[in-house]
């Protein structure tokens, strides 16, 4: 699978390239800022672009803007945004324009080779990836006080978190060592308790869950 990496820190960019290569990806282009990234994607037409948020020249959210630009120009391209900090507001900004083929991960998460490979493949396949720590922040916010979230069982709560991370029923089942059928039942219960209209579409499900979590 062909990927392009955008990261201004040389040491991290090399580390990423090494990891991706090790995981069997083909790094066809590297960029140090947003402009370069757009040029590399245009030249190599990769399946996934991996983008650091904070890049030159302003060192604020160039990566985020470049990612949104990429999604407009190349609808089928998977974009995985890496960040030093887990910021729900960034995640929402990114996912608000459609959750298919988009991911938001903390940088430390990539050191787990299996996790990195799975995330890249998921966004390449049109799925979504949301860093567990962002999900945790959203969920914890809901756990303060009187909230429908409190009615969830511990297991349902786990399932909700994994769903919010963008995982499919099968992935959730694998994670929790339960059957897909059980996951299905948990999901139905969760949707009923939270009063979210059920949907079988994984992508729309993520957005529905996130929207619920983010609403106050």
């Amino acid at each position: 699978m062909r990927v392009v990496v955008a990261e201004d820190s040389m040491i991290l960019r090399e580390g990423l390239v090494r990891l991706l290569t090790e995981a069997g990806f083909d790094v066809v282009g590297q960029a140090g800022d947003g402009t370069e990234l757009l040029a590399q994607v245009d030249a190599h037409r990769p399946e996934v672009a991996i983008v650091d948020i904070r890049m030159p020249p302003t060192h604020t959210d160039e990566g985020l803007r470049a990612a949104k630009e990429l999604r407009h120009r190349y609808p089928g391209l998977g974009v995985l945004v890496l960040s030093q900090y887990a910021r729900p507001s960034y995640a929402f900004e990114l996912l608000s324009e459609g959750t298919d083929g988009i991911g938001y991960l903390l940088k430390d998460r990539v050191s787990d080779l299996g996790e990195l490979a799975e995330s890249v493949r998921r966004v390449a396949g049109g799925g979504s990836v949301l860093d567990p720590s962002v999900v945790a922040q959203l969920v914890n916010r809901r756990r303060m006080g009187n909230d429908p979230v409190d009615e969830l069982t511990e297991r349902e709560f786990e399932v909700l978190g994994l769903m919010a991370e963008g995982r499919s029923n099968k992935a959730v089942a694998d994670r929790l060592f339960i059957t897909e059928h059980t996951v299905e039942k948990h999901v139905q219960n969760i949707f009923a308790k939270l009063q979210i209209s059920a949907t079988t579409d994984d992508h729309r499900r993520v957005l529905a869950v996130l929207t619920f979590l983010n609403s106050s």
């Binding site: 040491i11 991290l12 030093q84 990539v110 050191s111 080779l113």
Partner: protein
Amino acid sequence: MVRRSIVVAAASLTLGVGVAWVMFANEVRTASVLDVILVLVIGWSFIGAGLLAWHLKPGNSIGTAMIVTGVLRFLAALAQSQNLLLFAGGHALEVAYLAGVIFVVLAFPGGRLENSFHRWLFGLAIFAVGPLDVARLVFGGHDPQSCVGCPTTLVIEVMNAPGIVRALELALFGLGAVVAVSAFAVLLRRWRRASPRLRFAIAPVLWVGAASFVAVLLMVANHFLEEPTGDAPHVLLDVVTASVAFAFLAGLGRTRLARSAVADLVIELGNTPGPGELRAALARALRDPSLDIVYWLPDRDRFVDADGHPVALPDDDGERSVTIVQRDDHTIAALLHDPALREDQQLVESVCAAAGLAMENERLQAELRARLGELSASRTRIVEATQAERRRIERDLHDGSQQRLVSVAMTLGLADSRLASDPDGAQTFLREARAGLSEALEDLRELSSGIYPGILTERGLAAALDDLAARCHLPVGLVVSLPERLPDRVEIAAYFVVSEALTNVAKHAPASTVQVHVEQVDGQVVIEVRDDGPGGADPGGGSGLRGLRDRIEALGGRFVLVSSPGAGTVVEAEIPCA
């Protein structure tokens, strides 16, 4: 001075009585009662006003001019005499006093004719009422019919030449008309240009003066009428002329009124004036609404307004005038006022004297406000500096240690994935990870000692400076003489003075050698960092230097940077230890 006035007063009294007697006490009664009264009123009022002006404005020629005008008016009345000589003399001087009126009106209030045009006007007036009028009489211009009962011969008449007289009369009245119209125009222009303060002072004289010029014009016009209307224009001129002196007295009275305003001011200032009230009170007392007060701050070497904002003094030109106010030989303030006030220096001085204490008070408040302004600016800068510092630390962490640690995590990830299949490769990655960790630790160490040098707490300022000098890439001569440990805040401030100064030297004058002296003198730490570089550093510039200055001034200390081109740079700081 007083004697001169008494002599003049006595003489003019005698002269007035004499003239009245000449006019009235003769057998034929050439003059009417109204004539006599007008002559006495004009003569005495001019002389009286002149004497008062002598007294109030010594050195101002208006007083003399008024006295001369009054005397001339008396002498003109001798034209009513039966005595041939007095009769002739009176006729010769009959309109001479008008030149005096013109001078008084044009020269009011300064006592000088401002420009050559005014001097020309005055010269023409003298020529007309003097030589020209006398020549007219010499050539037979006197009309014996004009006065019933007067002598029929005029001793100065040498021939009867009606042609010459006609020409001279034309010239005389033509000139009179020109001078009257021009003088009227001068007054009109002066009024339009005058500031409110000046208008107030000159209004009476200006308007009465203008009226007298109109009366002269009417008199001239009357002369050229087919059927002259008799004495009416003469009487009108006399009435208006009499008013000139009273108008002058009114002008003086207005100054007197202003004087009593000083008394009001004293009472007003007795109640402590609120902010801005002092200015309003002085503006009222001096009748100058445009008045401004600025206060002198000696330690800042500049003037500020009542709010403590710096003010530049205007040029003392035609637009604004500046009067420096002193108290006990020290400048405390300056008044920015209408130039017209310069005519009344005495009033300004008495107002300043009366308001001296209040101004000193206000000056202290302005000083306080200036200090508060600086303090709040410095506090804002300290807050901003703190925020900038935090941003820098976040940036350093993000770009330094965090990245290294993420990189280490990645390397460990690689090692992990190789562990089973390629143990040797995995070991290489592990070693790489360990090296990365050491670098990350080094980064953190560097960063944390930049935030707060640990050695300062552990071993004190001398050891910390020693450490700093050793790590500096410049040759540093360090002399520290501190008998005891200092309070934390003083140590850290002193440390950062030296650290920032060394950083600056390394940045701007990398080839220099540096001498650092730190000693305790009279309860203060005195720090001096001196380099032999090119100098020319901007004392106000650089956020680092300004931050240091704020920090030290916040501790009640003093920070000075001296850097002249070619003479190196010296940073001096004194921080109180208590």
